[in-house]
């Protein structure tokens, strides 16, 4: 029996304990291959990188060198390749199929973007090189900023926020700084619709504000009477997503902006759903004071399993002076980076993170924008809205739309069509997995019971949408036809069955630990 460095067998004796199947000897089933953790595979003296031998000269670390072992296993290159390729096959991905997560904008990620981001002049430059050696990098940031300001109709942009929530933080800090500069320290209340992303209230609190929820009206939009009743001289502003998380354009948005401004507050727009209106509507024309743009949504930088994001934030004239450092400025033919809170940045609210922002995302987003151009981007919004409405039109007879009328880029259904079937939104979602689809966003927004929020994006073909719609229709009929087991057992065709999330939270196991030395090794 071969052993690894922990003295345990490398052959999987107890398949299920390491994630394998119990009904095959190997734990694998054909192309669905079992894959243990690297810690159960590797050895601390195994290495997939050939480095020169160190000379072994005396260390100059003041006696602070490590005393014990780290315990980090390594794998050779072929083992590493196989390990991660095998794991990758247990993931769903846009490149495999429709990924209709509402409010997440899972669109195709063009590979030209990846190629450009890897050009040595972008990928292999250091953020603190002398300005003379990175003029092209400064220019790229300036150029992307120009596109973002033009598309949104806003006069300023902060490029450094590292994700959408970081952009929200940026915008709300600018609002806080503007209020403080006005000496209005009483303005601490921020209005947030109850359909908002959770990041909105969390961000407002982080800026020292309190949150006041505005209810939605029967049509899924801001309840204007409730909004008016909440205005007062302690209002700092509003955080409003538009199109909102119900997939609807806030018709009264200009009146909302006017009311907030008249009350002395500022209008923060959550730009998560900008994909629906890019090229057709400029948020600057709607009275917005600040809006973050998720480059990983509208401008197609890859989601990468949960990041990295990038959240440049456009700002109105009123908020521009408070923008964070650093930012680029063009002087004649050359570019400079303003890094300190002095001179043109003397009113800046400060620095949000190290260096200058998510450059690797900037290169990808600008590549995407230049590829589309203003005409292509308008078509993006058109097709995104077209696809969502096509789904809504074709499914509204078998599923229950949450609200009447057309939607923007995402179609929202509730769970009324499942009433009395014994099938929940979660069960329905898991059955979609068995059909080869990633489920839609579930149970969000909170204003709708058992919400199912479907955002197809513009990069889906008509044939692909038809297949998806036919599947959804068949599932809805199956649920109503008493095929409850199909749903409750789902998924049965995924790499795992339903996972016990309660157990994970009650008995958290957040890392691998070596089995105790005296633990008996399971027999082969």
């Amino acid at each position: 029996m071969s052993m690894n460095s922990q003295g345990r067998p490398t052959r999987i004796a107890d398949n299920a304990a390491t994630g394998g199947y119990a009904d095959t000897f190997s734990g694998s089933r054909g192309l669905d291959q079992a894959e243990a953790l690297i810690f159960e595979r590797g050895a601390t003296d195994r290495c997939g990188v050939d480095l020169p031998e160190p000379k072994g000269t005396a260390l100059r670390m003041g006696g602070l060198e490590r005393q014990g072992e780290i315990g980090l296993p390594g794998l050779s290159e072929p083992e590493t390749m196989r390990h991660y390729v095998r794991l990758s096959r247990k993931n769903y991905a846009i490149d495999l199929g429709l990924y209709p997560l509402g409010s997440c904008t899972m669109k195709h990620n063009p590979r030209l973007n990846e190629k450009v981001a890897r050009m040595p002049g972008f990928a292999d430059v250091h953020p603190l090189q002398p300005a003379s050696t990175v003029q092209g990098a400064y220019q790229l940031i300036g150029e992307l900023g120009h596109w973002l300001m033009t598309l949104t109709g806003m006069p300023a942009v902060a490029m450094s926020p590292k994700a959408g929530a970081h952009g929200e933080f940026c915008g709300m800090l600018a609002i806080r700084a503007a209020l403080d500069a006005r000496g209005e320290t009483n303005r601490r209340r921020v209005l947030v619709p109850e359909s908002a992303h959770g990041t909105n209230p969390a961000t407002a609190i982080q800026c020292g504000f309190t949150c006041d929820e505005i209810p939605a009206d029967a049509g899924g939009r801001v309840d204007m009477e409730a909004l008016k009743a909440k205005l007062g001289d302690d209002i700092a502003g509003i955080m409003l997503t538009n199109p909102n998380t119900c997939g609807l354009f806030e018709r009264d948005i200009r009146e909302i902006a006017d009311l907030i401004h008249e009350a002395g507050g500022y209008f923060y727009c959550d730009g998560a759903n900008f994909n629906a209106i890019v090229g057709r509507v400029r948020p600057g024309d709607l009275g917005v004071d600040a809006m973050h743009i998720n480059l990983h949504k509208t401008f197609s930088t890859p989601h990468g399993g949960g990041g990295p994001g990038s959240g440049p934030t456009v700002l109105s004239e009123a908020l521009a002076p408070f923008a964070p450092v650093p930012f680029v400025v063009q002087e004649g033919k050359s570019w400079k980076m303003v890094e300190q809170e002095e001179g043109e940045a003397s009113e800046s609210f400060g620095r949000m993170a190290a260096f200058h922002g998510q450059m690797g995302m900037f290169t990808r987003a600008l590549t995407y924008m230049m590829s589309h151009g203003s005409d292509g981007l308008k078509q993006v919004a058109n097709d995104a809205v077209l696809n969502a409405n096509y789904i809504l039109a074709r499914l509204k007879h078998v599923m229950t739309p949450a609200f009447a009328g057309f939607c923007m880029h995402e179609a929202l259904f509730d769970d009324r069509f499942l009433q009395g079937t014994g099938v929940s939104t979660l069960d329905f979602a898991k059955a979609m997995i068995d059909e080869g689809y990633h489920p839609m966003t579930m149970y969000f927004p909170l204003v709708v019971h058992g919400a199912m929020l479907i955002e197809p994006t513009e990069t889906e073909s008509r044939e692909g949408l038809d297949r998806f719609i036919d599947t959804m229709e068949a599932l809805a009929k199956a649920a109503n036809g008493g095929e409850t087991d199909r749903f409750l057992a789902a998924p049965v065709h995924a790499p795992t069955k339903r996972l016990d999330e309660t157990r994970a939270a009650r008995q958290p196991v957040l890392r691998w630990t070596a089995p105790m030395e005296d633990e008996p090794v399971a027999a082969e």
């Binding site: 769903y92 250091h126 970081h166 399993g305 990041g307 609210f349 999330e501």
Partner: protein, 448 residues
């Protein structure tokens, strides 16, 4: 447009199914005054060839680190990244997946995050780690806020030798909270004023090692002093490779360890995206107050091991205004790059890479220190140290850049108005002896 599948025939048929005759009818909720009839004033669509040419020209204006003798560090380091790393992170299934909210079809991402968390915990000598933060600076800022929540105290003491961008990010995040940050004098290398600033109201002490000047610190005395007053020690690092050779923060009494993981697998990328590492003790109070996502082990309905995102009741999408942080995104793909590179290295490879970097820095310090008027200021260092020059460092760096050497970061770029004659210099295994010779010769030329 090559990314849009519909033909005009498709569009027409779909509009018909919807029951409208034009796109405009789908946008009637937009106030009339805000509807754009014309195209926005930006260039129109272009093919791959044209876009690549234009952006290639922009990239060509930059001096790539790999094209010159390169010694720039101060929070971002150039290390060799095996070709396997970039291939794997470009696998469609990793690159184009979302956050693993549906665990049954996201085990690839989730198991990788579990491996990442374990690697980070082992490296830092801590019990647990999260699934990554935006970068080192925001990880540091979140750690300060977490320490205040855990201790229910409001005062943070930060050593002045913590990377100034990390200090600034922490000040920004805490600006509108009850937390007050005291920053000690960056010129005080021995951290005595950090020790004396700790009192009964202190939530945490934040110390970076190696610090922004490259100096290594023994954290044990500070840890004891902090713990004696009921405060936590937050250890910061900006060069993960150092952990291959230096004592782990967890073994020197740190309660929370945060740092930048960029030097493993991620590359320079002009400052981002990077990957923030965040690790802490396995204490219930700590874990409940941690920011960011966590992957955890569980079993499926057949009893097979699997992984899920867990303890999300800390997070904004559940807790909204009561969340521990507004963080939603992590550094997903960068944490995958980190994990793949670290797996290729293993302990042996990491230790070797660290030793090679340290030896390269030692040789460089000897060469630069031998120049008349140049003094190596840092006594104990890993792969970065500070030299005092007889001229302003900014001028020297510009002159060296003009002669094709990227020499380091003038301390005054990070501490405006201070340390004008100090230059922070880094070396790694990617440097060659020839690089060192060229740097030494060029610096002699500039100073003579």
């Amino acid at each position: 447009m090559r990314y849009l599948p519909h033909t005009d025939t498709d569009r027409k048929a779909m509009l018909e199914t919807i029951g409208v005759s034009s796109f405009d009818e789908l946008f009637t909720d937009v106030p009339e005054a805000a509807r754009l009839d014309e195209l926005i004033d930006l260039p129109t669509k272009q093919g791959e060839l044209q876009v690549e040419r234009a952006l290639g020209a922009m990239a060509g204006q930059n001096v790539a680190a790999g094209s010159v003798p390169f010694f720039v560090g101060a929070g971002a380091y150039r290390h060799h990244i095996p070709a396997t790393v970039d291939h794997l992170i470009q696998r469609s299934e990793f690159l184009t997946a979302y956050t693993p909210y549906q665990p049954e079809i996201s085990q690839g991402t989730l198991q990788t995050l579990f491996e990442f968390q374990t690697q980070v915990a082992l490296l830092t000598g801590m019990d647990v780690a999260n699934a990554s933060m935006y970068d080192g600076s925001t990880a540091c800022a979140e750690a300060v806020m977490m320490a205040a929540r855990v201790t229910r105290r409001d005062k943070a003491v930060m050593a002045g030798s913590v990377h100034p961008h990390y200090v600034a990010a922490s000040q920004t995040l805490s600006k509108h909270s009850d937390v007050n940050i005291t920053v000690t004098d960056p010129g005080n290398a021995n951290l005595e004023d950090v020790l004396s600033a700790i009192d009964d109201t202190t939530a945490c002490v934040v110390v970076q090692t190696p610090d922004i000047f490259g100096q290594l610190h023994d954290l044990r005395a500070i840890s004891e002093a902090a713990h004696a007053k009921g405060a936590l020690l937050i250890a910061v690092f900006t060069e993960t490779v150092a952990l291959g050779l230096m004592e782990a923060p967890g073994n020197m009494g740190a309660d929370i360890a945060v740092g930048e993981g960029q030097s493993i697998g991620v590359g320079l990328n002009f400052g981002g995206p990077y990957v923030g590492l965040f690790a802490c003790k396995n204490d219930r109070r700590f874990i409940r107050q941690m920011p960011g996502r966590l992957a955890g082990e569980t079993v499926d309905a057949d009893g097979r091991r699997g992984y899920v995102l867990t303890l999300s009741t800390r997070e904004q999408h559940i807790r909204r205004e009561k969340a521990t942080s507004n963080i939603c995104t992590n550094a997903g793909l960068c944490s995958l790059a980190f994990t793949v590179h670290m797996t290729l290295l293993g302990e042996k490879g990491l230790t070797n890479m660290a030793r090679l970097s340290h030896e390269m820095a030692c040789d460089l310090a000897d060469r630069l220190g031998s120049i008349e008027g140049v003094n190596v200021e840092t006594e104990a260092f890993f792969n970065e140290f500070t030299i005092r020059l007889p001229q302003p460092a900014v001028d020297v760096v510009d002159k060296l850049a003009a002669s094709g050497v990227l020499a380091g970061v003038p301390a005054s770029r990070l501490f405006p108005g201070q340390f004008e004659d100090l230059l922070i210099v880094a070396a790694t295994e990617t440097n060659t002896e020839e690089d060192l010779i060229i740097f030494e010769k060029a610096l002699r030329g500039v100073l003579s």
